[in-house]
Symmetry: C2
Subunit: 462 residues, 2 copies
Amino acid sequence: MARTWATLGIDLHLEPAGPGVRRGLTDALREAVRTGRLTPGTRLPSSRSLAADLGIARNTVADAYADLVAEGWLTARQGSGTHVADRAPSAPPTGPARPPRARARPLHDLRPGAPDLASFPRAAWLKAARRALTAAPNDVLGYGDPRGRPELRAALAGYLARVRGVRADPGHILVCAGFPHALRILGEVLRGRGARTVAVESYGLDVHWDVLARAGLGTRPLPFDARGTVTEAAADADAVLLTPSHQFPMGVALPPDRRAAVTGRARRTGGLILEDDYDGEFRYDRQPVGALQGLDPDHVVYLGTASKSLAPGLRLAWMVLPPSLAEEAAAAKGPMETCGVLDQLTLAEFITSGAYDRHVRAARLRYRRRRDALLAALAAHAPGVRPTGIAAGLHAVLRLPPGTEATVVQAAAWQNLALYGLARFRHDHSTTTPLDALVVGYATPPDHAWPSALDALCRVLP
Amino acid sequence: MARTWATLGIDLHLEPAGPGVRRGLTDALREAVRTGRLTPGTRLPSSRSLAADLGIARNTVADAYADLVAEGWLTARQGSGTHVADRAPSAPPTGPARPPRARARPLHDLRPGAPDLASFPRAAWLKAARRALTAAPNDVLGYGDPRGRPELRAALAGYLARVRGVRADPGHILVCAGFPHALRILGEVLRGRGARTVAVESYGLDVHWDVLARAGLGTRPLPFDARGTVTEAAADADAVLLTPSHQFPMGVALPPDRRAAVTGRARRTGGLILEDDYDGEFRYDRQPVGALQGLDPDHVVYLGTASKSLAPGLRLAWMVLPPSLAEEAAAAKGPMETCGVLDQLTLAEFITSGAYDRHVRAARLRYRRRRDALLAALAAHAPGVRPTGIAAGLHAVLRLPPGTEATVVQAAAWQNLALYGLARFRHDHSTTTPLDALVVGYATPPDHAWPSALDALCRVLP
């Protein structure tokens, strides 16, 4: 559905509703700038008037503007509004070869979802790569097993059993190109079995909901209460996607009674639980919560990733499948779509040599110190802000006074601080009362930039 | 559709027809052995009687048997028939972790589709990886651009223009995890535009046809005549998938008049040509045929891969899209499914440093020598066999006396020589008169194994 943005006379091709609106708007605006339909210097309408124009929430527009400021497509100056940034026009359609322009980065970045990329263990990784490739027999370089390299699946089975309590047979592990790839495969399998709806958490990532939607599956948000996700409400869904060890983004662990209840119901009804264990390695104040999969390997698909423990750029994730699903999922993955073997072998070597454990331990210590610094700074400079979800992971949720979230996010954009409000993680159909909060990814900046990012954050907090 | 294999009382879940039969049978048999439904030592029915049982071509069964012998699941001894090989039973469903068993390799391997993996430039690749990772800024390790690393797209644009005459803007290049990944994306785009049918060549790869089928697209084979693929017959298809520079597997180049005609028609009708340029680097007796894409970048999608020039295990391929398709294809690829950045950066470094050109030159020389040795051996030992498609690439087509192909393939299996007959590459709905031939991948064996593979081949030729 195309909606005309009357003020500027350009078409924004937006879905009328659903989890994709926010991203759709951001993409449409970015594209309009990239292609020159919005020229540098153009002043954009206020978020209030554009929201009214498009019939969507003002928060959604404010978020989209903030993203594009952070990415360098727009500029925002207090008092003078939001403008299209100066930038070279895009290359002509079939013009001469030239490298695509890199996007400007925000000065400070506290968006969640990535670890500190500066601490990626480059030297250790290269050493492992050398050892792995030197030792590998030639046929490793062929098309290989679409489930992933046996060396990596064996290493993961041992590691996940030891660290996360996962019961994994290497034959039932699929190595994937990141979590969304794994989720797409599962979506296809579920759809092929006649599933229509996946219960999801009220707060989560719209890219995941979009992946399920593209597989033909609707998503239905589960309520979120003081004890976390109300899994009882998933009773009649075909499957449920959960972050039980550390709810993303709210940061709580699913209470033991709900863990038992959700697996018990899956056992009784033959339902499937998709366990997104995105940051299982990072626990500070208590023992890690073991994976739900350990309770019932026949009804839980365990999903893990290297995106938080190492780097998203590796595009390596894995799932441990119930035996009854393993062949179907491998078939849905297809015989040829797999990840590069060199990274797979390197990760296997990294795990079996102990380098992975060492790296995770060091990262855990570093992030714990950052979290402590965040808590201290909040206590000193923003006593009205209540931090939650802080026992684990790479981000914290900062609860704000009601009605202030959009303003704080906008103020952050003016300071060139990339920051996400909780609203962007809320499922559009959630019935849970919206909360005002920030989701602060304290692992994102490199060490040298962390203190100034924290200062910038404190400046915009009420 | 489940068909019971009466002789042994097991169900083979086979599609009744279409390009997947051969693979379906192979997979079903392999699975029956793996899961223990067919126990070691069991004698299999003759290919003739199983074919009659299942209502499929005898060649199909013979091919499946030959594959499984080559993979070590079955054994074949002249005079005593085909048996299930002795092997350890598979691991129990949720048993303790253990590495999956590697499959036995055939003694000699002349199957086409892969380069000599022993000549993968490991040292040069590791050196490029070190340089690339050392030089990369931190944000390279993040989620990044789903189209692929800008460094790689820029390097590819320059390389493809120089070597293949491709007109490529880096912004219209998508880096993919192998050719099938790229084809799936294109299939989704075509299906989304309402396409129903893709014209394909009479001879090709069933995995490609399957990828299109999974995207909801039928494939309709174009006739193959003395001058190659009859592209005129593609007139009313929504798109056409071609290997114009070096037909796979027949080995001929599309004649200039047909090249002009097929692009001319695409221009007039708005149709799309998918150009699979899988081995464009390997030409021996003449100048390389430039990519079709250079004739009409607005109607040709150019697809290239590192699988033949370097190694399939890298799972790196790329497509150069018409400007009108670039955004749609990037959207179909999804925002998160991409390839590991380290291999992408390494390949970019490999190309820009000149290491790629050096490697390809050395490989071309090596394969040319092998091709010459093959031709000499045929002239000396099998004068009744006519080699064709020998001017380029990594394989040759050896024309056999009518009616002998299945026997030769079976004889090869008995010698533990993995070899493919032309029948396995023929589209089931092709109207072209079947030819008896072998498709010999002379690049496949490592140098030390090549002479004995060639000897084994000569022994089974009529």
